[in-house]
Amino acid sequence: MTLAHPALSDNQTAGIKPKRKVRVVSKRRRKVENALIAYSFIAPNFLGFAVFTLGPILFAFALAFMHWDGSNPITFAGLDNFWRLFQDKSFIDAFWNTIIYTVVSVPATLICALGLAILLNQKIFGRDFFRTALFFPYVASLVAVAVVWNMIFNPEMGLVNMVLYTIGIAPENLPGWAADRHWAMVTVILFGIWKSMGYYMVIYLAGLQGINSELYEAAGLDGANAWQKFIHVTVPQLAPTTFFVTVMLTIQSFKVFDQVYMITQGGPGTSTLVLVYHIYNEAFISWDLGYSSMIALVLFLLVLTLTVIQFRRQRED
């Protein structure tokens, strides 16, 4: 790039004019070139993303208003699929089960994760080991740990009931866990907390490390005890982390499927049937693709509404 000296360009107007024109063209050209370079960076990912994610999402929304079994021609259904939701007892059960799962597991996981993060944020011996160990269930293969979970929580022979029996609980009062309609959801929720707690603990640890230690010193000078420091320094300082964790946890709980499939298969009865399980059944068992897309649309709207509400509250704070 050559820089024209202002004094020189004034004196040599005639000579520079055509030159300038050339530079304008090359500038525009460079802009186009730059854009092309930028697009070449984006293209590999974006093409795959557009074809395999964006496209199907739009198609999913359209399909919710259609009838289709995947082989015969598609027919327009209008709001048929929507009205059907209200008569579908399984959908209503799945809806409430998903809500219950979310309402219980989100705060429980959050509190466990925060508690552990605070414990492990202190300078204790073997801290790295504990962090790694507590994080490991999150990365462990679900199929493998779910089968262990089923064995440990086996009502007749499992370790948990054996221990409960040993500490004096009568055999008829022992929980039936996955086999009992009142305990099945508890079993699934406990599994979910155990599996994902470590991940959110790591996020909280990152949040805790971002808190300025001077804030604690100042609170200490004001005579605050540990609990007061926690309430007046840690909690407000962690608000953005808590927000992120809540949003992530809520989305994850609405998407819950794998662990239900492996621990209870949605049963007994419909006691652990959740929305995604119902979508799966309607799509890949009944091949009622329009209706399953309608349930998916409801799921999406639920997640979207909750996320927007949480964003609003975050902004107000």
Binding site: I42, P44, P56, A140, S141, A144, V247
Partner: protein, 278 residues
């Protein structure tokens, strides 16, 4: 109380006790799994538990390879996981560089397209995606799973957040030195983004290796199955052979454990620096 000349407060002891008890509870299923994998089926549920079997049955680890095509499942899963992870790392960091450091028309619109889908559960569009793949003739192929897992909004978002924290002056200086954008990406950005790349590697590797619903929908032929659905198939076929099931489960866990342990020190750093904390 004094230990080794240092004053230890009651609080510290409580912290240690809590942490140790919680860790034991969290790791208990793994210990149980390992212990059961070395037992005869009839001893698996014996109570009180013999945590370290007096006669470890190593034969379980020999039998699993012949009862199911476990080696094939592991090969399939490794192949899928490695391809998806490499594609994900390359394309995400490539696209993220443009979003973070270059100027071009429709940049914000395109980025919004990515952001909008991050909160979208995969289950919402898994059915149309399946129909699309069937249309392409990709049903019962590994390519289908590669296509649906390699180009995620999450990867682009995570890398972009990290690149935003790298000063622009660094790129400017490189441009003045005559590097083109591709060189800047390869020689400056990539080496600097190790924490973010490690985080993304862990996430992608773990998600792909452990994916269940995807392979379950797409792969119905036994020779294509991944370790997760293969393991599941094994469990339903031999539901009473607890020792074997546990041995196969241990084998399925090992690769994830290795990747996780070798990259985990980057993890906290990666989560923190990619702006995930809000």
């Amino acid at each position: 109380m004094r230990i080794a000349g240092r004053k230890i407060s009651g609080g510290t002891i409580a912290v240690y006790l809590t942490v140790i008890v919680v860790t034991i509870i969290m790791l208990l299923p793994f210990a149980w799994m390992l212990s059961a994998s070395l037992k005869l089926d009839r001893d698996v549920f014996a109570f009180p538990i013999e945590w370290i079997p007096s006669h470890p049955r190593w034969q379980n680890y020999v039998d699993i390879w012949t009862k199911i095509p476990l080696a094939l499942f592991i090969y399939n899963t490794s192949k899928l996981t490695i391809i998806v992870t490499v594609l994900q790392l390359l394309t995400s960091s490539f696209a993220a560089y443009a979003f973070a450091k270059l100027h071009f028309p429709y940049k914000n619109t395109l980025f919004l397209g990515y952001i909008a889908t991050i909160a979208m559960p995969w289950q919402v569009y898994m059915v149309p995606q399946f129909l699309l793949m069937r249309e392409f003739g990709l049903n019962n192929t590994h390519l289908a799973l590669i296509c649906l897992q390699a180009f995620t909004a999450f990867g682009v978002f995570l890398m972009r957040q990290f690149y935003m924290s790298i000063p622009n002056e660094l790129c400017e200086a490189a441009r003045i030195d005559g590097m083109n954008e591709y060189q800047i990406w390869a020689k400056i950005m990539l080496p600097l983004s190790k924490p973010a790349l490690s985080t993304l590697t862990i996430f992608t590797f773990v998600t792909t290796w452990n994916d269940f619903l995807g392979p379950m929908i797409y792969l119905t032929k036994t020779e294509l199955k991944t370790i997760q659905i293969g393991l599941r198939m094994f469990i339903s076929q031999y539901s009473a052979e607890y020792g074997l099931i546990m041995a196969a489960s241990v084998v399925a866990l090992i690769p994830v454990l290795i990747v996780f342990l070798s990259l985990q020190r980057f993890f906290v750093e990666g989560v923190a620096s990619s702006g995930l904390k809000g």
